[in-house]
């Protein structure tokens, strides 16, 4: 049974594999500077085999919405709110395997389900949505209900319904119709019940013996389809993918490869890539981000939303549209802006729409000698990793280490005073560098700050809301520092250092594979293999996604390991 404790231990392993757990001894500069990735010599193919436990991940809000819109069209209104997600080991995707549904949550799911279902059977939509009509609208109709529930069920459950399941929903539609004297009301209640079923809300998986690994197990074809589509598209499988599962094609390497190619070539890949980076960058934290508006009056709710979108557009444009090198996201001068962001960046953004129309996005390229470039200098990074009233080299440095280099930074010791660091009006210590130097006289603090601050201080030209500045309290800001032995003097050079750091691509491999599987990948050998492939493909992210999706390990699982499941380690398949 998983527990948080074992997860933490597991993550330590991952960090070790990707970049190393930073040690904060008083003199760590050498160790951290060169902390090498745990290298494994070339491994035999079998050593890479890395089956995982079956997971049961709760659909995220976006996934729920994507599925509904895929099935019933984008005009269906969801209403309702989703339960908060849980970040485990740095990813919501991993936390989705730990969360359940509370009473408050089920109430929202129930309300949403009934609202969605009533739109589907609404007089305006029913003829388009449903392929049959009841003999009598005021009575139950087995045949029509069965037809509708079987068709919708295949998509919502991501597999065909069993006879028992279908019968339950037909019965539900019938009792509903009898009580309300309306076929459509009954059908609507039955649809709503399916929409709040755990089989829809959780992505459950089914295993079967793996002929390629004697004694091993793999996901069955429908579970494979589900895993592929949520990874690549952040939504449920479409008809073609379900058909590939049904025909058994997904149980062949060739069949999987065909589907993966199709899915990666689809424009929907963007949705999948975005979903990963939203999770990876921790953009959900914008929900609770606040800024002192006296100091940062331009930082509006719109600016915060645009800042996230800017970084996502930068990344998607580079990685998907231009098939670029992942490491270039730290150096690219190309981005996209709106008028709202233009005021913060202090660059002119001409919009030609009428007053009050929503801002449009425009491609923008910073000049070659501009201090800005790469996502570290964008508002989304600098503002998100800053407290309300100032910038923070420490928070930014820590985020860079943990999120982008996969190096765990220990939490500060208890009872440390941060007065000096937080006092941005201090006449003695005018810049953040001065304040941190004064703060780090304590050797316990100094060890960690040595690891974090030099990279965070390189971003001090960006204030707490991401605006460019060259002085603080009249004193010139010094942005020099070093990252793992590479010296730099500007934010642009920091971007280059991150670009060139070997942990940068291996961290992405580690996090993207954890995102795909819903668990931290602990097998160093497999990660090493993926790292090599990633490098061989010029660090193209869609190629890495394909490598992960086509890997045997993507589908390799261990059997369920509980007493209850002893009798049938793998759930007996009912006739479908």
């Amino acid at each position: 049974m998983r527990s948080f404790l074992s997860r933490t231990a597991a993550m330590a392993l991952v960090f070790a594999a990707a970049g190393g757990l930073l040690a904060c001894s008083a003199d760590t500069s050498k160790q951290t500077a060169s902390a090498p990735a745990a290298k494994t010599t070339a491994v035999a193919k079998d050593a890479v085999y890395a089956p995982r436990q079956l997971t049961m991940r709760r659909l995220s809000g976006e996934q729920y919405q994507n599925v509904i819109h895929d099935v019933f069209g984008p005009t269906i209104e969801l209403g309702g709110r989703f339960e908060p997600d849980l970040r485990v080991n740095g990813l919501l995707a991993v936390g989705s395997g730990d969360v359940s549904i509370t009473a408050a949550g089920i109430e929202q799911y129930d309300l949403m389900a009934r609202r969605i279902a009533s739109q589907i059977v609404d007089e305006k939509r029913r003829d388009m949505m449903l392929r049959c009509k009841p003999a009598n609208v005021a009575a139950a109709d087995d045949a029509c209900a069965a037809q509708v529930m079987a068709r919708v069920g295949r998509i919502l459950y991501r597999r065909p319904l069993t006879q028992t399941e279908l019968q339950a929903y037909v019965t539900a539609a019938n009792v509903g119709a009898v009580k309300t004297k309306s076929f459509y009301s009954g059908l609507s209640l039955s649809l709503a019940a399916m929409l709040s079923s755990p089989k829809f809300l959780f992505r459950t998986e089914t295993a079967e013996p793996d002929p390629d690994h004697a004694g091993g197990w793999r996901l069955d074809a429908y579970s494979k389809a589900q895993q592929l589509s949520f990874f690549l598209w952040n939504s449920g499988p479409d008809q073609l993918l379900l058909d590939a599962a049904e025909s058994g094609k997904l149980n062949t390497k060739k069949g999987v490869a065909e589907q993966v190619e199709r899915m990666i070539a689809s424009p929907r890949l963007e949705e999948g890539v975005r979903a990963f980076f939203i999770d990876d960058f921790g953009f959900d934290q914008f929900e609770t981000l606040t800024k002192d508006t006296t100091l940062f009056p331009k930082f509006s709710a719109q600016a915060a939303a645009d800042a996230q979108e800017q970084t996502l557009r930068t990344v998607v444009d580079l990685l998907i549209k231009n098939k670029g090198d992942y490491r270039d996201i730290f150096t690219t001068k190309k981005t996209f802006i709106t008028q709202e962001l233009g005021a913060i960046y202090k660059i002119p953004v001409v919009d030609t729409l009428p007053n009050g129309a929503p801002d449009t996005w425009q491609a923008y390229q910073f000049p070659a000698d501009d201090p800005r470039g790469g996502i570290l200098t964008q508002v989304a990074f600098t503002a998100l990793h800053s407290p309300p009233g100032r910038g923070s080299p420490t928070l930014r440095g820590k985020a860079l280490r943990e999120v982008l280099l996969c190096q765990k930074v220990p939490a500060p010791p208890a009872n440390v005073k941060f007065d000096i660091v937080q006092d941005t009006n201090n006449p003695l210590y005018k810049t953040a560098r001065d304040r941190l130097n004064a703060h780090a006289t304590n050797p316990v603090c100094a060890g960690c700050h040595k690891i974090i601050d030099p990279i965070g201080l390189a971003l001090e030209n960006f204030d707490g809301a991401g605006a460019y500045r060259t002085t603080e309290q009249g004193a010139r800001i010094d942005t020099s520092g070093s990252l793992d032995g590479v010296n730099f003097t500007t934010a642009a050079e920091l971007g280059k250092a991150v670009h060139d750091n070997p942990n940068t691509p291996s961290c992405l491999v580690s996090r993207l594979s954890a995102y795909a599987l819903g668990r931290p990948v602990q097998e160093a050998a497999w990660l090493e293999d993926l790292n090599k492939r990633f490098a061989a493909y010029g660090y193209q992210v869609p190629a890495l996604m394909r490598e992960i999706a086509e890997s045997d390990n993507f589908f390799a699982v261990k059997p369920v390991e509980t007493k209850a499941a002893d009798a049938a380690a793998v759930p007996a398949k009912e006739a479908r």
Binding site: T293, T294, P297, K298, F299, S300, A301, Q339, G342, A343, I344, K346, I347, P348, V349, V350, D351, T352, N355, Q362, A363, Y364, Q365, P367, D370, T471
Partner: protein, 379 residues
């Protein structure tokens, strides 16, 4: 604090790189160009306790209405009855009477559209000695009743509009203590009226030297920060309508920018203030503030009939809410107008005025030239 910011480098840099995608171009490169967007506009006021003489400023509109009714011959008892009814919402009779209190050939007409048909309520004008403004007539101290500017201490300042309006309670205030009328008008307009842009060109705006100042209307309204304060560094497009373009040569000296060309100023504006804002013999005095913003006084002779009808068209609504006696404005401006005499009657058509402006840094861009049908390739 940082000094006034220079927009040269970002403007040029951005221009070179993004011209194609932005579809606009920025001000032609002088050695230094700064653009601003006007973030506050009002009559320049500096009220004090004694400037309306004994009894203080003019009364509020509710009191004035009683006087209007009395002037029309209603008895005190009738007046009380009418007022009472108007307040309980039982009858709008009082408002109908007031709305038609003008008399033309003995028949009731609107006093707002025909202000000369209303009885002159003989409202007070400023008797104080100080007013912001300029020596427009060039007479200096020789000006009869000229004001002294409280900032420059210049004598013979012409600002008869301030004299005429200054004792209306809603027009009273100081530069910082915004007069209620102007605060209301600005609050009403700032988020929807096209903004005004100021662009200053010079060799080096941190040093004394010749400058060119232009005023234009923008296609966008003023943009605001999260706390409602005007937003710095936002982008606006120039409205290419020549009726809103003004350019003056001037100089920057000792921290003050003034203009040496005193031609006409004209700007299309929201009808709430005046449909077309016009000044003749324009004078300007502008200062840069350490936070990058600027303040300015702009003065000249303004056609007062235009101004009157902007208030008059608001009718009883404006009268009730904003100013007090609307026809009174007509009588006051007619009396104090000090320029452009009619050759026959001698009645002056213009009145000396000075307005106060605040502005924050902005980017200003030329809109793309409209394509005209018949251009090659545009069919």
């Amino acid at each position: 604090m940082p000094g006034p910011r220079t927009y040269l480098s970002p403007v040029l840099g951005a221009c070179a790189l993004t011209l194609a995608c932005l579809g606009g171009s920025f001000s032609p490169a002088a050695a230094e160009t700064r653009s601003y967007v006007v973030s506050w506009f009002s009559m320049a006021t500096n009220s004090n306790d004694t400037d309306c003489g004994p009894g203080g400023p003019n009364p509020g509109v509710q009191i004035q209405y009683r006087k209007n009714l009395a002037d029309l011959g209603y008895t005190p008892a009738q007046i009380e009855e009418l007022v009472k009814k108007s307040q309980t919402g039982e009858g709008g009779e009082m408002f109908d009477i007031l709305r038609n209190r003008g008399r033309m050939n003995g028949k009731p007409v609107s006093p707002y559209i025909y202000p000369a048909t209303a009885i002159d309520s003989k409202w007070k004008a400023i008797v104080g000695k100080e007013a912001y403004g300029f020596n427009l007539d060039g007479k200096g101290e020789a000006t009869k009743n000229g004001f002294v500017d409280p900032e420059t201490h210049e004598k013979g300042v012409n600002n008869e509009l301030y004299r005429a309006f200054g004792c209306y309670i809603s027009m009273r205030g100081s530069l910082e203590g915004r007069p209620t009328y102007w605060a209301w008008a600005w609050g009403q307009l700032k988020d929807s009226q096209p903004a005004w842009l100021i662009t200053i060109d010079g060799a080096d705006l941190t040093k004394d030297g010749p400058v060119t100042v232009t005023f234009d209307r923008a296609l966008e309204h003023l943009k605001s920060n999260v706390d409602g304060s005007p937003r710095a560094d936002a982008t606006y497009r120039y409205d290419s309508d020549p009726r809103s373009h003004n350019s003056f040569k001037g100089e920057f000296k000792g921290g003050v920018l003034t203009i040496s060309e005193h031609g006409d100023f004209h700007m299309l504006q929201n009808p709430l203030v005046v449909p077309e804002f016009k000044l003749a013999k324009t004078h300007l005095r502008m200062k840069f503030k350490p936070d990058g913003s600027l303040t300015a006084f702009i003065g000249g002779y303004q056609p007062w009939a235009d101004l009157y009808f902007s208030f008059g068209s608001g009718g009883i609504g404006i009268e009730q809410c904003i100013t007090g006696d609307v026809p009174g404005l007509y009588w006051l401006m007619r009396k104090h107008a000090d320029a452009d005499p009619d050759p026959k009657t001698g009645q002056n058509a213009s009145i000396s005025a000075t307005y106060y402006i605040e502005a924050v840094p902005a980017f200003a861009a030329q809109p793309p030239t409209p394509k005209v049908a018949g251009d090659a390739g545009e069919r």
